[in-house]
Symmetry: C2
Subunit: 220 residues, 2 copies
DNA sequence: TGCAATAGTGCAGTCAATGCAACAGTTGGC
DNA sequence: GCCAACTGTTGCATTGACTGCACTATTGCA
């Protein structure tokens, strides 16, 4: 298994059980991919349940792994951090995202490019209702999770700053790039928090956050 | 010693050596306070030097402590995390900041209140020129440090969201509060990055960032 | 069926972070 | 100058996140 590439934000797929029940949810994936997905979801669910039960700090990776029926080593093959498992953050290669930004910058304004890329990076969450309920509970009790800084996320942030700074030119390009990216991620984080606390999917949450931000009601 | 309260962002004071040379830099503090400050700065400097030399990941807390001439236990009495020591972030009680926000909200708009509080939380950095040079180097080589999420910072963030949400009222108060605080901290983080990379003091950097943000050039 | 790829595992090890109890220098009152 | 309350420093033991490595088990494909 790839030692946890990280970067494309997405969340766990549909419930393995319901998929098994329906039987038709092959997704065109091989048996291998399906199993991988299943264990991943099992861990995510286990993490959520345990955090809901005992609180984030009292849940160990070992506990999560055991409930999900895997070894702790396997846990870290799927999730880069404990936080990531609870939040269901999976990321792809950071250079893909920064490349995507570079391309978008050719055809759109920096603002639009940033938003398009960030939005694209948020894969929809087809989460089941019970997973949503769990997430709501967890986020309500664990405000700590509102601020994501899951390892590789920082990597992406850094690369995006570089790409943007390069594109902007001018004396203050660097500073402008830093601010733009920081604000962009602030919106993304907000979307994540909203998504989990309201039980809506990430893209919807992101759009809502962006709308609110643009409305000027924010006063930030 | 207080087991590292955390929250009031500030940076290490003046060079202990230069203070010793001048002799008149008593600051009205007791011998105790002075010594405490000195060891703190020694650790901060050691951390910066080592990171500049070997890179963040290859520097252990033990190495920092040894160079600063203290035990690792003492290290953690002063800094809540390794990151904090490198960045020179010290924080006070989080409730003080949220209290401050609550008060400011009585007399100013949310936007002004947020900014005032965040700005106040940034104690000036009277860093020596050589420390600045070190910081520049470190920040250039360690982009990881651009995204601060030093433990208790999250705590402050959370409390601010609560206070703000309570004050805003309305259906979307919660979401608005989350976004406002996230953006506020995004600006603060940007200020921190700018301060270190340009070798200017935090307040100046913060004002500059806010001005740039308000100018609309950002395109976030 | 057999080979290549890849998911899962066990193990040993590193290191950040914390609690506790003992110790030492500082301060203030007398 | 001396004692008592503080408070900073330290060593020790411990927990738990995370990693590298070598190895086994499955799966996909020819």
């Amino acid at each position: 298994m790839e030692p946890v590439t990280d970067t494309q934000i997405s969340a766990a797929g549909p419930d393995p059980d319901s998929a098994a029940a329906g039987g038709a949810c092959d997704d065109g994936l091989g048996l291998r991919e399906q199993k991988k997905r299943q264990t991943r979801i099992a861990m995510h669910r286990a993490a959520l349940e345990l955090v809901a039960e005992h609180g984030f700090v009292h849940v160990t990776v070992e506990m999560i792994a055991r409930r999900a029926g895997v070894s702790t080593r396997t846990f870290f093959n799927h999730w880069s951090t404990k936080d990531a498992a609870v939040l269901g953050i999976i990321m792809g290669e950071s250079f893909e995202i920064s490349e995507s930004l570079r391309i978008q910058l050719e055809v759109s304004s920096p603002r639009e490019a940033m938003r398009t890329v960030l939005r694209e990076a948020l894969t929809a969450i087809p989460s089941d209702s019970d997973l949503r309920e769990l997430k709501k509970q967890v986020m309500a009790k664990e405000p700590r999770l509102h601020s994501i800084s899951s390892g590789k996320l920082i990597e992406v942030q850094t690369e995006m700053v570089e790409v943007l700074a390069e594109h902007l030119e001018g004396e203050q390009a660097g500073t402008l790039a830093v601010i733009a990216v920081q604000v962009g991620f602030a919106l993304t984080r907000s979307a994540f928090a909203l998504s989990m606390s309201e039980g809506i999917d990430l893209i919807t949450a992101f759009d809502e956050v962006v709308d609110l931000y643009d409305s000027g009601l924010i006063e930030a």
